[in-house]
């Protein structure tokens, strides 16, 4: 990344694919073995449409386009989201999440970023915001 970062700067969007294997991997890595994330029968029995993705997987995956744009994960100094809708993950084909992000303000070396994440047209994260520390080369 190079050039001046300012309010309105758009971060390249990305489609993130999630399938059952993604969820099994996240369950193992995070230790979150809640049954709704891997057992379709159980998920349906509690009123969900299908197995759903871990909200924390979605949160963790949705910051990656920002990390890659920044060039350093350590420059994300704050990150918060509201989980506004579940991400159903069908056995066949999985699901795709569209992630977008844009800079909303810059103050010195600190930028605020709004992130959007939608699945089948539904917002799966709301009020998703990150604060990042820009590199010297990124500051006007």
């Amino acid at each position: 990344m190079s050039g001046q970062i300012e309010a309105g700067t758009v971060i390249p969007s990305r489609t993130i694919h999630v399938d059952r294997a993604t969820l099994v991997r996240y369950a193992g890595a995070s230790g979150d073995f809640n049954t709704i994330h891997w057992d379709e029968q159980f998920a349906r029995s509690v009123g969900l449409p299908d197995v759903i993705a871990h909200g924390m997987w979605t949160m963790g995956a949705a910051i990656q386009p920002v990390v890659d744009w920044l060039g350093d994960a350590g420059r994300v100094t704050a990150y918060s989201v509201r989980f506004s809708a579940p991400v159903p993950v069908p056995h066949d084909g999985g699901a795709d999440i569209e992630v977008g992000a844009a800079v909303t303000s810059v103050d010195g070396d600190t930028a605020s970023i709004d992130i959007t994440a939608t699945c089948d047209g539904r917002k799966v994260l709301a009020r998703a915001r990150a604060t990042v520390r820009l590199a010297p080369s990124q500051i006007a």
Binding site: I16, T22, R25, Y26, G28, A29, S30, G31, G55, M56, W57, M59, G60, A61, I63, Q64, V67, D68, G71, D72, A73, G74, V76, T77, A78, Y79, S80, V81, R82, F83, R127, A130
Partner: protein, 149 residues
Amino acid sequence: MAVNPEVAGRTYPPSAPYVVSRAKIAEFARAVGATDQVHFDPDVARSRGYADVIAPPTFAVMITQQGDRHVMNDPDAGIDYSRLVHGEQGFEHHRPLVAGDEVQATTTIEKVRQAGGHSMVTMGTTLTTPDGEVVTSSTSVVVIRGDEA
């Protein structure tokens, strides 16, 4: 059953010390699709001024939830874990978690409120080193669905 609002303000004892490892950072980073080599290669991390590989921005949840577990297990709070939905999550990183860090999670119940038959519990959790340095502050809101929902 609604969550008891009287538990708001309660702070629980710190969780057992958690040591951040290179292996767990790499495993977690792969699981969220992270490709920044700062999670995998200590030389890359050092070249950017970190002591070792650093954790992805949401890695801390594994540790903060160890503190939050006290809330789930507090009989006075009366939280029905089977009705729990994660509503919101936020992190403030005073610096990144680095492989080799040892931290403990301390959780305070910041707020309990009822809305639409559900209970919403806001928990604030800090990750602190043995020297007392706060590395990460986390806020999470869990929703306990009411019987009618």
